[in-house]
């Protein structure tokens, strides 16, 4: 039996190639994910270990917000066995760009660059700062700002004073994600402390001989306020932190890998079904000469196992290539990821890749193998190939009804749950999975009517070949259904994502338009109340602006909780959940919905507030606002009361609206001019906010669709596979048509139209599912979100699916058209 199977495999190797490709791609993606994240993880570990090797013990404050004092450093230095100890400074020191404004959306982080035994920072060019007037920058910031060694840079101290320093070198921020995000500017320890005004050190690094003994001694000396770890422990902790990050990436990517494998499974299932159907005679002959049912079953499974194993092995190679490629791309994009480690194919990746590929292939072949055992020996004697007929069985009807009811029921249940909670989204997802199963079961029933509907145009447009093609597309409903469902998976997810992004965009637009009707917003880089009130007052005095709203904030306590208290000046119209804003005055307060819930109070009740200047006061809640649509602080007081409680705090945010008819350029000039003297005050326009948000959404959409592209590609292989197998089955038919006068291009066109119809069916079902579940998911995410259907995008998906189907038909069609008529007529 083994010999027969292997001989069969060799004979059908071309036909199995497409199937193998489906598995290879799926396994390749999964293996590639592991290669990428394993390599990144290894790179992280390497880097942090290399850094931590230099230190024996690291001391950090227990409370991450707190710092270690100079006295702590003295204590450390006094401990016997400490060879050297240095504090690490880490605090905001905004770097100014050439326009005199602070660089980036958050302030640059100032650090001290240590040299000698404890020097952990890599200086890539120039030297480390050695004197007061010297500084270094991280390479990316220097490049972005066009600065080079020898230039003069300007930074702000904590009081806003400008300081000019000489750039003496460039540093590599390594794998520190925070430094990579904010940018880093390095000084000597004394300068770093002076400029940043940091009260102490973020970490104290210690060099010494015996890390374990030192750790114990230091822990004794410093007491409970500090965490003491050996260099090894620190490295492990850092690597673990990085590991959590890469795990997220792994999980996210694997999700797409699983979708791809699901699609591949459908393709394999279909291929084996068709192969078994085409080999009915061969199977029957085997049965005639005495092979048992078990042997036939085994031979099909064995065939699938060989295919699964070979293509998974190829998948591992593809995965290695993909992983290396992704690393190269990430490296070229200057991401703060360790991409220079050599890509590695770990044992786990190999085992998992082979196992997944093998299991999926064999599992997908089980049903076809069972069908093969049902072939009666007498079938070997029949001459005429029977046309596959399909009747809706009772069992199918019952199951379909069950799954439809369950899918819709669970979905409806999820939709009616409270939005914003994870369970409701998960419930809708479960409903989606059930509905998908229902579609899978109903597929063969749906194919005929759908192909008639979709084929309406091609039938009229392409004459006889068109009509024959549409008939052929629905001819074997089971086969057509599985082929198209594979495509449906990808299109459903694409549509879902495009509905979600379009709706998110529409929701934001609506929110910006209705509840946040501003043209410009001013805020500081550090998000603190630091905009002098004179800025807003100056703008308000100008005739070009319709309204200027100031928001001030300060930290306060309410009972045990830290809250953000604040006030506003200017016209605001927040959406109210309860009460009214007009009663806000002395002794009253307006809360955000979230804050009211957290404090457990309603309109009419009182909350205590511990203020800076007036001690603890009791305030009566007069209104609760919807925080999603208001920029008011969580605890909003009347202006006078706020001043009394917290003093004359500067503005945290200023919202400016242009008067109608004032040109935008002119308004922007005025706002920029008002903010110019204050380097950390940043101006953004609502158009910019929209633009940034749009860009972020677009980016996300592109990445997700790119990743889903793999599933679509695999389903196209499925279409190509089904068509080439159908072409093979219909050799006689094609020859007959050619004899009767169908030209080669017409025959090719016929197959293209068939593929077009298949592609369109898959796409249409996918669009319907995607729209329905996009809507359902939105209901679970947030109350009052706009449901936006990106018609153009969806039309594009449908068109692309049809086109892709036609592309998939190119090779099978060529083969059909090339076949010699006489040869095909003879082969009966």
């Amino acid at each position: 039996m083994l010999k027969t199977t292997l001989a069969g495999l060799r004979a059908h190797k071309l036909r199995l190639l497409l199937t193998s490709l489906a598995i290879t791609l799926g396994v390749g993606f999964i293996a590639g994910t592991f290669v990428l994240t394993d390599t990144m993880q290894a790179g992280f570990s390497q880097k942090v270990t290399a850094e931590a090797d230099k230190i024996a013990v690291a001391v950090t404050p227990k409370d991450p917000e707190a710092t270690l004092s100079r006295k702590d450093l003295e204590k450390v230095r006094a401990v016997p066995g400490v060879r050297e100890a240095q504090g690490l400074v880490r605090a905001a020191v905004p770097l100014l760009g050439k326009d005199g404004k602070a660089v980036g959306s958050s302030p640059t982080t100032g650090v001290n660059v240590l040299t000698g035994e404890l020097g952990r920072v890599t200086v890539t060019s120039g030297t480390a700062p050695a004197a007061d007037g010297e500084a270094v920058l991280d390479e990316n910031t220097a490049k972005a700002q066009g600065l080079k060694v020898g230039d003069t840079i300007t930074v702000l101290d904590k009081d806003g004073g400008r300081h000019r320093l000489k750039l003496v070198g460039l540093i590599d921020p390594g794998v520190d994600q925070e430094l990579a995000y904010t940018g880093a500017v390095g000084f000597t320890t004394a300068t770093a402390l002076r400029l940043s005004g940091a009260p102490g050190f973020a970490e104290i690094d210690v060099a010494g001989a015996d890390p374990a003994a030192l750790k114990a001694a230091l822990a004794r000396a410093l007491g409970s306020q500090a965490t003491v770890r050996t260099g090894e422990e620190l490295a492990a902790a850092l690597a673990r932190q990085a590991g959590v990050d890469t795990e997220f990436l792994t999980m996210g990517l694997l999700l797409f890998g699983l979708v791809a494998m699901l699609v591949a499974a459908l393709v394999i299932y279909n291929t084996f079904n068709i192969l078994v159907a085409q080999r009915t005679k061969e199977m029957a002959l085997l049965r005639c000469i005495g092979a048992g049912r078990g042997q036939v079953f085994g031979s099909v499974l064995l065939e699938s196992a060989v295919v699964g194993l070979i293509s998974s092995a190829a998948g591992l190679a593809v995965g290695y290539g993909l992983g290396a490629l992704a690393l190269a791309v990430l490296g070229a994009l200057d991401t703060p990821l360790p991409t220079d480690a050599a890509a590695s194919l770990s044992m786990r990746t190999i085992v998992l890749g082979l196992a997944i590929g093998l299991v999926v292939t064999v599992a997908a072949a089980v049903l076809p193998a069972r069908a093969a055992t049902r072939v009666a020996p007498v079938a070997a004697l029949r001459t005429q190939v029977e046309e596959q007929t399909f009747r809706t069985g009772v069992l199918r009807a019952v199951f379909a009804a069950l799954f439809v009811a369950a899918g819709l029921g669970v979905t409806a249940w999820g939709v009616t749950m409270r939005p914003g909670e994870r369970t409701s989204l998960l419930t809708v997802m479960a409903g989606g999975a059930l509905t998908f199963l229902a579609v899978l079961i109903l597929g063969p029933v749906l194919v005929k009517p759908l192909s008639a509907a979709v084929g309406w145009v091609p039938r009229r447009l392409f004459g006889v070949p068109g009509r024959l093609a549409v008939d052929n597309s629905g001819r074997n409903p089971r086969r057509a259904a599985t082929t198209t469902v594979a495509l449906t998976v990808g299109v459903t997810l694409m549509t879902l994502i495009s509905v979600l992004t379009a709706s998110a965009r529409a929701s934001l637009d609506a929110r910006l338009d209705k509840q946040f009707p501003v043209d410009y917003m001013l805020m500081t880089q550090s998000r603190e109340s630091a905009i002098p009130r004179s800025v807003a007052e100056g703008l308000r005095a100008r005739p070009e602006f319709a309204s200027v709203v100031q928001i001030r904030e300060a930290e306060a306590r309410s009972g045990e909780r830290t809250v953000i208290a604040g006030t506003y000046h200017g016209p605001v119209k927040p959406a109210l959940k309860a009460g009214s804003l007009s009663q806000l005055g002395p002794g009253t307060v307006v809360l955000s919905g979230f804050q009211a819930k957290e404090l457990g109070v309603r309109v009419g009740q009182s909350v205590p507030l511990t203020t800076k200047k007036a001690g603890t006061v009791s305030l009566r809640v007069v209104a609760v606002v919807d925080e999603q649509s208001s920029e008011l602080p969580p605890v909003t007081l009347a202006e006078d009361a706020f001043d009394r409680y917290f003093g004359k705090v500067p503005d945290a945010q200023v919202f400016v609206k242009i008067k109608d008819g004032v040109p935008e350029d002119r308004a922007r000039e005025l706002v920029d001019a008002a903010a110019q003297p204050y380097p950390t005050v940043q101006v953004s326009s609502s158009t910019e906010v929209r633009g940034e948000f749009d860009e972020a959404l677009d980016m996300m959409f592109k990445i997700i669709t790119g990743l889903l592209g793999l599933a679509i590609l695999i389903s196209l292989l499925g279409i190509a596979n089904t068509l080439s197998l159908s072409v093979h089955e219909r050799t006689r038919e094609s020859a007959l048509l050619r004899a009767l006068g169908l030209t080669r291009p017409q025959l090719r066109g016929m197959l293209s139209v068939e593929a077009l119809v298949l592609g369109l069916i898959g796409a249409l079902v996918g669009v319907v599912l995607g729209l329905a579940y996009g809507w359902a998911a939105l209901q679970t995410l947030m109350a009052q979100t706009a449901f936006e259907v990106p018609l153009l995008q969806i039309a594009l998906f449908v068109a692309m699916s049809g086109l892709a189907g036609v592309l998939a038909a190119v090779l099978p069609a060529r083969r059909a058209a090339r076949a010699s008529i006489v040869g095909a007529l003879a082969a009966s």
């Binding site: 046309e387 004459g463 006889v464 024959l468 008939d471 052929n472 001819r475 006689r732 038919e733 007959l736 048509l737 050619r738 004899a739 009767l740 006068g741 169908l742 030209t743 080669r744 017409q746 010699s820 008529i821 006489v822 007529l825 003879a826 009966s828």
Partner: protein
């Protein structure tokens, strides 16, 4: 008699001169046809006979433009086939030639009527409805038009194929063992329809067969052996065909 007179005056429907067909190369070379000269008169019903492997099917394929010839020439009507492109050959088959094969003549997805009209639709021509009625009537398929091939018997399927070949009024119909898969009664039915179409519609038919009974329906039988034309009979009877065949077999040994 008058019918035969007009027939002989019309130019022949198909003419082959020095037809040679070689399959394969080197040791595997097979001379399927060795210089065949033959003409088929318009409105004539000719049977091609010969032992298995004598080149009957090959001759038919070459005459019908389904296969290319190694050397020699074929004319269908006034069109010379040698040198035509695939597209031109397809056009020629579509417009001038009808086919009846031994089996698998019909598209399983189409009804009998759709199958009959298929060549005309491929050509984008209007069916002659009077002819359609007459042909359907003659072959006795009136109440089977809406059936799919799977719902028809073998004889009925071949009758559909005959109707399909007749409906486009081709210059010549080629039939390759059209009754090979039928029982003798169904076979006789199909053959008499072919003969009727020759008599009443003036259709030209060339039929390959190995059955002397079938050959006797033709006006003329030509005999092939080892790819060459050896003899021919006019107004054959089953007995005369059989006698000729026996003689051929004997001289071959």
């Amino acid at each position: 008699m008058t019918v035969i007179e007009t027939r002989s005056e019309a130019p022949p429907a198909v003419v082959a001169r020095g037809l040679t067909k070689v399959y394969g190369t080197g040791d595997a070379r097979v001379h399927a046809l060795r210089g065949v000269d033959v003409a088929f008169a318009t409105g004539d019903f000719t049977a091609i006979m010969g032992p298995s492997g004598s080149g009957k099917s090959t001759l038919m394929h070459c005459l019908a433009g389904l296969d290319t010839v190694t050397s020699g020439s074929v004319r269908v009507g006034d069109v010379e086939l040698t040198g035509l492109s695939d597209k031109q050959l397809t056009r020629l088959r579509r417009d001038r030639i009808g086919f009846i094969f031994q089996a698998f003549n019909l598209l399983p997805t189409l009804t009998a009527e759709q199958n009959i009209r298929l060549p005309l639709e491929i050509a984008g021509r209007q069916a002659d409805e009077v002819l359609f009625e007459r042909v359907v009537q003659t072959v006795g398929l009136k109440d089977r038009l809406r059936h799919k091939p799977a719902e028809l018997s073998g004889g009925q399927q071949q009758r559909v194929a005959v109707a399909r070949a007749l409906i486009s009024k081709p210059q010549v119909i080629f039939a390759d063992e059209p009754t090979g898969n039928l029982d003798s009664r169904s076979g006789a039915e199909v053959l008499s329809f072919l003969r009727t179409s020759v008599r009443e519609l003036g259709q030209t038919i060339v039929m390959v067969t190995h059955d002397p009974m079938a050959a006797s329906y033709a006006n003329r039988v030509i005999f092939l052996r080892d790819g060459a034309l050896v003899t021919e009979l006019h107004q054959p009877t089953p007995q005369s065909v059989l006698d000729t065949l026996v003689k051929l077999e004997a001289s071959a040994c």
